[in-house]
């Protein structure tokens, strides 16, 4: 049985509509007109225990709304959600004791307290057993390498340090599900890698189910076995990375480093994606022309220094998917 079951989830918000001009603003004082915005227009998916699922979509697609609903924070207008047999917003207190949540743009640590005191406070709030808590805390501190900042007040932490502490804070009560809402937002490369590595280890070693939203496609590529793409409150695509690429385009890219004096490749069945200096990137469809054939032809005609066949960046795939929905 799936651990997370979401069926036909719906939520709409009422947004006050502003009429233009000073007179319009004045009229708005007396009579407001509202516009309904459908944030979730029937989202359905299932997540198995131990899965690591990416949840992506353009700004305003409904990602955070979904996470907030699954975390029991918001009450939807319609649809069904069951997580480990509980409906989040009906059994909020029991439900949240089993989940961990991190919202990348906000912190759950007490701003004026040293990190360790926030942790201790969370222990009391979650009524965790002192010994187990101590063990889990030490493990997390070691894995996230935050031992040196435990006595620092949260306001003095860098964003990367804070995010790692926030991750630890969300896991102190040993939840079996972790919801991450843009956990790498604004982080530098090193911190991003640390966060990714940690999430991956947590998922592999502890079997924690992870649902993560992000705009960072590297997050998706390095972390997620499965990607759910949503836009305008609907699921656009749901499957493995490979299936996602296939569903958009089967194109592969061939990057060629040319010798001096060559600045043009005119090869049938290929399309030049971009050129910088000696490097030319060609797109081709491996189902029509096998890569070996293209490579052989190019090497025959031109002095080639290096070759690389790769997938188009996932950004392009996702962007293509987003743009299709309006077409």
């Amino acid at each position: 049985m799936p651990q997370i079951m979401v069926e036909d989830l719906r939520k709409s918000f009422r947004v006050a509509h502003r009429r233009p001009g000073a007179l319009g603003a004045l009229a708005g004082v007396f009579r407001r007109t509202y516009r309904e915005v459908e944030a979730l227009a029937g989202i359905s998916f299932r997540v198995e225990r131990g899965d690591l699922v990416g949840y992506v979509g353009p700004n305003g697609a409904g990602k955070s709304t979904t996470i907030k609903t699954l975390a029991g924070i918001m009450v939807p207008d319609g649809g069904r959600v069951e997580i480990d047999g509980l409906v989040p917003w009906e059994n909020r207190i029991r439900h949240v004791a089993r989940i961990g949540v991190v919202f990348g743009q906000r912190t759950q640590l007490w701003y004026d307290l040293p990190v360790i005191e926030s942790f201790d406070l969370l222990r009391d709030i979650y009524r965790a057993d002192r010994n187990t808590y101590g063990k889990i805390r030490d493990e997390l501190v070691e894995m996230l390498q935050i031992g040196s900042v435990l006595d620092t007040p949260v306001r003095q932490l860098s964003l990367g340090q804070r995010m790692r502490c926030d991750l630890a804070a969300a896991l102190l009560h040993k939840p079996s599900i972790l919801f991450l809402d843009e956990p790498t937002i604004g982080l530098d490369a090193v911190s991003k890698l640390a966060v990714r590595d940690f999430v991956l280890r947590l998922n592999r070693n502890e079997g924690v189910t992870v649902l993560l939203t992000t705009h960072d496609m590297d997050d998706i590529e390095t972390l997620c076995r499965r990607v759910i793409v949503i836009a305008d409150g609907k699921v656009l695509s749901d499957g493995t990375m490979g299936e996602l690429r296939q569903s958009v385009s089967s194109e592969r890219w061939l990057a060629v480093d040319m010798g001096d004096g060559v600045d043009l490749i005119d090869e049938p069945d290929t399309r030049v994606v971009r050129r910088d200096g000696h490097r030319i990137v060609l797109a081709f469809d491996p189902r029509k022309t096998p890569p070996s054939q293209i490579i052989a032809r190019i090497c025959e005609k031109h002095p080639v220094r290096d070759l690389l066949v790769e997938n188009p960046p996932i950004e392009n795939t996702i962007a293509e998917l987003y743009s299709r929905r309006t077409a």
Partner: protein, 263 residues
């Protein structure tokens, strides 16, 4: 419940860090205390009529009011309002505890810590230099302590209600400006309640605000018989329970329509 106690404890520890603010507050309150003592002295000198309180009692009442001012200093709870404004409130809802009691614990802490930091030195200064009388009797002191406990609970309940209005308006500016003015007048900070005209005494007695200042102070001064005191305490706790029930209902309503914007 233990979650709420943990919250209470943590908040008190955080709030006790703000010592400079407390020192500045004490200085301000003593200054305004002098202004008000002089005003009432002038009134008492210029009038020969019989008063419901003696001049010395009024002075003590004023200094007690200045010392415990923060119990009646309302506005919205800064921390909760910041959480609601910034959306960090999402994390409060991911705690396995009743949000209402967690927030009430925050409000209680927000009353206890700053008020204690100001009140204790001011009462000592009052006894030593400012003409603050000692409690009328041991019983008076005991009743005063009971009433003060109720005052903290009541103040926290009222401030939580103010704060919950944020679930509708987001900005707490309006209520933060209105609140103290109203509560100061009705709790006895501006003019001791016994000095109000006889006609409006029933209204003042029925409202919850006298439980904040007037009831504890009159018990301290021995201005109430113990029967009156018990009645006043019962009324105080009646209001506490009533306001808490109202708050719980408002919060449940607010959470159902909660919208947290942005990622």
């Amino acid at each position: 419940m233990s979650a709420c106690l943990a919250m209470l404890d943590a908040r008190i520890r955080v709030l006790l860090q703000y010592r400079t603010v407390a020192v500045a507050g004490i200085a301000t309150q003593i200054f305004f205390g002098f202004v008000r003592v002089m005003t009432f002295t002038a009134f008492y000198r210029s009038s020969a009529a019989a008063h419901p309180m003696t001049h010395e009692q009024v002075i003590s009442y004023i200094w007690l009011g200045q010392a415990f001012l923060l119990l009646a200093m309302f506005g919205v709870d800064n921390e909760i309002s910041e959480m609601i404004r910034s959306g960090t409130v999402v994390y409060e809802l991911t705690r396995p505890a009743s949000v209402f009691w967690l927030w009430y614990s925050r409000c209680v802490a927000a009353r206890i810590a700053p008020a204690a930091m100001r009140a204790i030195p001011q009462v000592l200064l009052g006894w030593a230099f400012l003409g603050l009388q000692f409690p009328a009797s041991v019983l008076a002191l005991l009743m005063f302590c009971l009433a003060l406990t109720g005052s903290v609970a009541l103040a926290a309940a009222i401030s939580l209600l103010f704060t919950l209005s944020l679930l509708r308006t987001i900005s707490g500016e309006g209520i933060s400006r209105m609140g103290p003015a109203l509560v100061f007048l009705l709790s006895g900070i501006v003019v001791p309640l016994p000095l109000f005209p006889q006609r409006i005494q029933p209204i003042l007695n029925a409202l919850p605000f006298r439980g904040l200042m007037d009831v504890p102070f009159r018990l301290y001064l021995g201005q109430m018989t113990w029967q009156e005191g018990v009645l006043a305490l019962a009324q105080q706790w009646g209001w506490i329970v009533g306001l808490l029930l109202l708050g719980r209902w408002l919060l449940a309503l607010g959470v159902r329509r909660l919208v947290v914007q942005g990622g």
